[in-house]
Subunit: 304 residues, 2 copies
């Protein structure tokens, strides 16, 4: 079992879906990621919040063993806020408001221990900051994965391509994969992204699951079939948390392990969307993970 | 190995995609279905064409062993024509023109042999005609499957529900499944459709593959990852042809066989979309099917 470091955002989210509404609840890429990964391995979180950040949220992460010593509180700043809405097509959020607040000035500083973490996840932040984190590492991690979004693909493509050359895995939404590659065919797009540096490309497809391209070819998994999807916020970061958490726990990158990691990521994401914020993950018991993984196995099993 | 009967349409299609255009080429649900199924078992086709139907198209089907004695030529009529267009999002066709011609007066009449066929596929035609075909069967087929579309869901819902009560399997597009069930969640929609009669519901999801609900639960498969999709026309009917052809060939409906049938359907569909009309299927050699099935197996294999 190896340690896992995540650098990303911690947020207060206001979300409306056809099934309800929540106001200023715990959110953020690093939050979903670290909480999901904590079911598999030890996680260090590096992020920034403002003085208004409710201390119970930090305790909530600590209670699952997440090392929050890298959660910097800016005494004058306010916590990053995101407001979004989903229609019945839960695949895409409509962003109604973004208040960067402390995120605008966020400069991750890694402590000595953090610099030696063998597994590193660069959640969706400015690619210049992602590269800066990579440069701060005292030893090259065994695995570096990165997530990004349309905002950086459009606005900071060169910086993004610089950091892509340094990472092993990229996780990216389907539409953003097409945008990054400038290619409507997803298979060609995945190959083009692999050509930018990462030897593994994981495309997140919302309710359609995930597609992974590795040096040995493609692996495609559906999403777990759910009768009620409440709120897809955080599903992608939860996926990445389950994926990286499992890899760090196994401390192996062989083909079978990486495939299982994609399914563990999908399992964790399937729980997150069953309730608002991290409420479903907060109730999650490890046997439920085992059970859903087994159900997943049966869901996709093709008899020989 | 059992025989397979298909009742549906034979058409002349005019299709434009971002990759090219074809005019009045061979198409139609029964055509794609029977040609795909002919790789697995003996197929009888029942459909109608006009005097303008090029005789080489009938020979093309005969050359693969399809029994075209049920292809009725109306000496005064014209063949059904469909004109459609696809954008870069190849998932949905925009219908530009439909000329029903002989299809408007089509009343399928089954011969004595046809009435005893053990596997029956009711391709997408008027549900009243689908029910009439079921009533013409001298013995209840071992398996009856049906395909339908938004036009009948909107316009002939009651007739559609009557025939649904008589069939074992329904194949339906994702959007149409939601429409038929009046339910945005696909998993609930599939269960609702199963409640209408068919014990197996196969949802076709275009580039995202297929989802099957049976009495023992869900099976979900992705589409085969293709670098060039030329023309998705006929993919759904080809899928059904591979699916039903394999089941009739195995003459078995056990869980493992039905899962393999879904993958054979996906394999056949993956070939169809690689060229216009039935051009790729016309070049297809059986070893290519075996090869792609094996590649599919590897694509979705989750190590135990």
């Amino acid at each position: 079992m190896s340690d896992l470091l995540v650098v990303g955002s911690v947020a207060l989210d206001t979300v409306k879906t056809p099934f309800g509404k929540v106001k200023e609840v715990l959110g953020g890429s690093a939050t979903y990621f670290s909480y999901a990964a904590s079911f598999y391995t030890r996680v260090r979180l590096v992020a920034a919040v403002g003085a208004d950040f409710p201390p119970e949220h930090a305790r909530f992460l600590q209670d699952r063993g997440v090392d929050v010593s890298g959660l910097m509180t800016s005494p004058e700043g306010k916590t990053f806020r995101w407001t979004g809405e989903y229609g019945y097509d839960l695949n895409e959020a409509k962003t109604l408001d973004t208040q960067l607040n402390v995120l605008a000035e966020f400069r991750p500083r890694l402590g000595d221990d953090a610099r030696r973490t063998p597994y590193l996840f660069l959640a969706n932040i400015d690619p210049d900051l992602q590269l800066d984190v990579v440069r701060q590492m005292a030893t090259r991690p065994r695995l570096i994965a990165l997530d990004t979004m349309n905002f950086w693909i459009q606005g900071k493509r060169e910086a993004l391509q610089r950091v892509l050359r340094e990472v092993d895995v990229v996780t990216i939404n389907e539409g953003e994969a097409r945008q990054l590659a400038g290619e409507p065919n997803l298979i060609k797009a995945a190959r083009a992204i692999a050509g930018m540096g990462p030897r593994t490309v994981v495309v997140k497809r919302g309710e359609y699951g995930a597609l992974m391209l590795t040096e040995s070819g493609f692996f495609v998994v559906p999403a777990y079939p759910l009768e009620s999807v409440f709120d897809p916020t955080g599903a992608g970061d939860t996926f990445a948390g389950g994926f990286m958490g499992y890899l760090a726990a196994q401390d192996s990158l062989d083909g079978s392990t990486v495939r299982r990691a994609v399914v563990y990521g999908s399992v964790m994401a399937s729980f997150t969307v069953e309730d608002f914020s991290l409420q479903r993950l907060a109730r999650l018991k490890p046997p439920e993970i085992t059970e859903r993984y087994a159900a997943f196995h049966d869901l996709i099993r093709l008899p020989g």
